[in-house]
Symmetry: C2
Subunit: 715 residues, 2 copies
């Protein structure tokens, strides 16, 4: 493009049209309800706030109202005093089931006027959902706390909306589980899938086979009383608990106490590494099934939900291949290979579950012939598995695309729909067999300390996919609401934001964590794929490094990118200048702290240097843009190359701060400018060119349209 060179001494008038990212005052609700009808005015929430209930009521409802009032107090910082003012009237029409059940009526209607709020639901679970919506609506107004007047009619799209938490690879104490149940309830999830055993740990007390938890957990297991406590805690919040005991693979930790269960001779020890391992249960010995029969018999007493997960994924095969007795057994039963053997094993397991009154759920691999028709398939491989299961008459749940440990942007998960792909073309009666979805939090690279930050806030976006109408798909709207809801989630007890500060504070060794926070806010941690090869991780490696405090997705980078698009707006400029200045000074500031020059600093100083560089480029580019000066071509070339370099991951993280600086450079780069240039013709006096630019950043779901008008003075 010659535009840049031909236009001299020009005055740039920038008009910016931002697609989708407009920050209109959308209600901070997530998941977005089915129908929201705004009204005029608002309801004041002061210390006289009170609740009155009518219709059906039980201990769950009473406890929920109590928790609700405590949370109103916490969110507003106002102690509520007993008052006769029934600010919120709750009407629960039916008893519903005491223990939450698949297919429960979770609908509710919430109507807020300037005088009062009214919440109606058929069941206690519906009331629970509505209370969360109301809590999300409480915000500060000019005269104190208030809820905008609104009418909401809501009900979920899918009946199965879950989170799977792996407590085997890293131990998660009760407190972690409970605060995540609070978070789940806050975004209307209703299934907690508890991955209780794997090669690295068996996490439940067994009175029948005590060496399971004694030899298989390093002492980190839930007592049966604690399991009951968690189940009751979840029930009170309208959440079903589904235990998973993964068999016949992923069972090394079982064999530490009971080596006779394995297909090869022991001894075995708890696995400390990550991966898929050889130890597999022996499908040829009747004793294996007796053991499972007894264990399942013991465990079903702890878990009231009718569904019971037996895993069934990633059977490695070596032990079976090498075992003469297993091979002899296969021949005797005409089982052609590993797949048949596993089908046999699954068949036996499913019969045991049926005997104990349970419905089997398993990962893709369990989808073989001879399953009971009520079996549920959980797909980690994609919607094709769902479609296949549905066509065969089975119900299913999607987890593919919802793997939180990959640390993908929320928008990636948000774009995945259980009814997309092959599932889209299913006839309605088959599509109805797709019950919903479950996000998965595998715990190779998370600890009890930072697991919240790997689940949240992204889980809330997935929860919206499961709850809200299919048409709710706008990622910009999602991000706008997600940021608000993310902060609100900390009020329900999650620590996804505060935990990061604690880790940074620890690394800073008594000095302010401010410096590292600046670096962390501009960074994004790599997911499991990026960390696997980075160093020799085992389950004993402490997850206490900088990367463990870095978010999965940088809110700051996204907001600064938005600010770039709003320039020359003064507030946007102020945010950018403030951030870029902090970045540009960070390397020097790190030198102030001895804890950051040795030790942790060894890997962080180079990254700090990179961020300093980004900040300096950003400041300079900001000046070019706001002074209406074109940047020298050499400078641009050099700085773009620098951005390319800085963008490469290192120290198990990437610098998300590259995005806004990249955008800024694109705005002062005449050579790259212009998808379309519109000029007036040769009529006398015309000296105007309008250039329309479109920038797309698909990985950030960001589209920016820039209209640039140049008023030229022709030389």
């Amino acid at each position: 493009m010659e535009l840049g060179r031909r236009v001299m001494g020009r005055k740039l008038v920038l008009t910016l049209v931002l697609a989708g990212l407009a920050r209109a005052a959308e209600l901070p609700l997530m998941p977005m309800p089915r129908k929201v009808t705004p009204a005029q005015g608002e309801l004041k929430i002061d210390s006289s706030f009170g609740v009155v209930t009518s219709g059906y009521s039980d201990f769950r409802l009473d406890a929920a109202v109590k928790r609700f009032l405590t949370r109103v107090e916490r969110q507003t910082g106002q102690a509520l005093v007993k008052s006769d003012r029934p600010t919120l009237a709750i009407d629960c029409r039916e008893r519903g089931s005491d223990y939450p059940t698949l297919g429960d009526d979770e609908s509710y209607e919430l109507e807020v006027s300037t005088a009062a709020a009214r919440l109606q639901a058929h069941t206690v679970t519906g009331v629970l959902r509505g209370l969360e919506t109301l809590l999300q609506l409480i915000g500060p107004g000019p005269d104190g706390w208030r809820v905008p007047a609104v009418k909401i009619e809501d009900q979920p799209r899918f009946a199965w909306r879950g989170l799977m938490l792996d407590v085997a690879r890293h131990w998660m104490p009760i407190a972690v589980v409970e605060r995540n149940l609070d978070g789940m309830a806050a975004v209307k999830l209703n299934v907690f899938h508890w991955h209780l055993s794997d090669d690295q740990g068996f996490r439940v007390e067994s009175k029948r086979y005590p060496r399971l938890h004694q030899n298989g957990s390093d002492g980190n297991y839930y007592s049966q009383a604690e399991v009951r406590q968690v189940v009751a805690y979840a029930r009170d919040r309208g959440i079903r608990v589904i235990p998973e005991f993964d068999i016949p693979g992923h069972t090394t930790a079982w064999f530490a106490g009971y080596p006779e269960l394995a297909s090869a001779a022991g001894p075995y020890a708890i696995e400390r590494k990550w991966g898929v391992f050889q130890p597999t249960m022996d499908p040829s010995r009747e004793e294996t099934y007796t053991f499972l029969d007894n264990l399942i018999g013991e465990m079903v007493a702890l878990f009231p939900d009718p569904y019971f997960h037996i895993g069934g994924d990633e059977v490695e095969g070596t032990q079976w291949k090498k075992s003469p007795s297993v091979q002899a057994f296969a021949r005797a039963h005409r089982l052609a290979g590993q797949k048949d053997l596993q089908a046999y094993f699954n068949g036996r397991a499913s019969k045991l579950l049926k005997k104990h009154g349970k419905i089997m759920i398993g990962w893709d691999e369990v989808l073989t012939n001879g399953l009971f028709p009520d079996t549920v398939i959980q797909s980690w491989r994609g919607q094709a598995s769902l479609a296949e299961a549905a066509a065969k008459g089975y119900r299913s749940v999607l987890s593919f695309g919802y793997y939180l440990d990959h640390l993908q942007p929320a928008s990636d998960h948000y774009a995945v729909d259980p009814l997309d792909g092959k599932a889209r073309d299913l006839p309605p009666e088959q599509a109805a067999r797709i019950l919903g979805g479950e996000a998965c939090m595998w715990s190779e690279y998370v600890s009890a300390e930072n697991v919240d930050s790997r689940i949240w806030p992204r889980m809330a976006a997935i929860a919206e996919r499961f709850w809200s109408p299919r048409e709710v798909r706008d990622a910009d709207s999602m991000y706008q609401r997600l940021e608000e809801v993310s902060r609100w989630l900390e009020w329900s007890g999650l620590e996804h934001r505060s935990a990061s500060r604690r880790i940074l504070s620890r690394i800073s060794g008594g000095a302010p964590e401010e410096t590292l926070r600046i670096l962390a806010d501009a960074s994004e941690a790599l997911g499991i794929e990026g960390r696997r090869e980075a160093r020799r991780y085992t389950s004993l490696t402490p997850l206490n490094r900088f990367v463990d405090a870095v978010p999965a997705e940088s809110e700051l980078a996204r907001n600064l990118a938005h600010d770039v698009s709003r320039l020359p707006d003064a507030a946007a400029e102020a945010e950018l200048r403030s951030a870029f200045t902090q970045w540009s000074e960070i390397e020097t500031r790190m030198l102030l702290n001895p804890a950051l020059t040795g030790g942790a600093g060894t890997e962080l100083l180079p990254r700090a240097l990179d961020l300093s560089s980004l900040g300096s480029i950003g400041l300079r580019a900001l000046d070019f843009l706001l002074n209406g000066q074109p940047a020298p071509a050499d400078w641009l070339r050099e700085k773009n190359a620098e951005l390319d370099r800085v963008e490469r991951p290192a120290a198990e993280m990437k610098l998300a701060g590259v995005l806004p600086v990249r955008l800024l450079l694109s705005r002062i780069e005449p050579q790259r400018v212009a998808n379309k240039g519109v000029r007036c013709g040769n009529e006398p006096g015309c000296n105007r060119t309008t250039t329309v630019l479109n920038w797309k950043f698909p990985q950030h779901r960001l589209k920016i349209t820039l209209k640039q008008r140049s008023d030229r003075q022709v030389e």
Copy 2:
């Protein structure tokens, strides 16, 4: 001074000598032990860290070791695995008392070598103290977590080292009490004085007189089981619990249930306002003493400590004056006035306590004739009261100077010594009656949410005054260690830093709290004196405003002031530039958030404007200084006037950020420069003037000495 005008085109060479504030690597210990002998090398703290005990051991010691290991895990982010490596050997020589007792041996010796650590103490309490010291020493090193090799011999200076918490004026739930007990143990305090009743609340369940807590607490009281739980929790941490039931004044809440106790007819209701009120117990009715006899009889069963506090302060007098029966009683008993009446009442109360096996402690006012010789006086009036009590043979505890609700700088409290003033001149046997001190946290203007931030970290500085040798008085050293210990204290469960963020987050209404944090970090909240008249506060007024999230003392302002003194050091410049830029942009950034333009913004926007102004002045001054340019006199005059304006409190807070900017201006202001100018004589070639400047900022305990050498070129 003509210096500025006469020196032209000069080159300024700035050499800076900083008095006292040198940041040498002092061990982050608080309170400072009696004797610290550094050694070579360090002890590695990795996942194999283990503890072995020898000598005497009991349930308290076992529980303490367990807590200690958990805290090591939390501080290092490393899960400890069982190992045979006894990194720490604990040797407890004697049984000591199960319940901590005044005068217990709390001494310990801690020796850390590169191979292991050894902790020796006579009692379990001594072990507890030593474990806290060891935890404070754990920090990050180049190769992971470590403790520097050192030998520490330690014991307290005073036997009574306390914190009084007022749970009557604002309710403090058990969790608040317990985490503050953890904080107390962390800095080796040993007395928790629990102010359980006042006009605004009676906070303990009484089975004998249930209307005390039923009518006097709004439902916010401790059950007797909870009281026992707190006492046990404190005992495990080597802390005595002393209850206070304040009589005969400060008793309105008692009269809500038992109006017949008052000296005037009821009815009474819980007092909602702050101040000194008329309702006072009737000293003339025998039933009053019967009631107290029964109540004390009930309460002594909950509190094993031999000391029992009956308050006795601020009797207002009106009810007694106006009551014919009280006046008749006074005449009959030849009691001349209010003072005599109170002395009579105290005498009766002290006999009741004696009957129930307790030793009386009361505020200054109880110091009248006829007290039992073991009575302890707690002075809120000053060391003169201590001296008077000591001279009369009574023991005493100082609280004057340690009133945390005044929100004075830590250095103010730190400078107060129980043995200063009139107490300094006491003969040794009388001085020995001064048992120590107690900081007081009155709760008119703190809530459960922010009380930690009003107690901590300043309490740690006071704890050092009570524990460490008298000679440990250097405020700069104190501040340097306090900042590190403050962060460390959050690891023991306190929320003095994190709670502030939560309040800011709430006010920000779903938007990032970053903007308000910048303002808060540069601010200091006013204490009780500054807030009393600011608005109509009652116990029902929510403490959820910006001022409630602002620290008592700005660490940032102190550090930036230090940075100014270190200029032209690059790291100091980076910190200053970063902060000043953030400040200068803050007003514009606030406009981004609708929650901050209405509502809370009404009082905050003017303050944000002030901080923006400070930031801009700072940036400009920084440029003047670093370019070696003198600032124009007009500019300086104008900006100093601006600082004077900005320094004035508003919105119940002051901008501590004025300090570093003020200091910076002083460095570029030739007119103000010079306490002493030293010039070489008239010898040829001499063109040098050395100016020595001393700046004192007593309110910040900051002294800066600046040596400025001017190499002149005479015109």
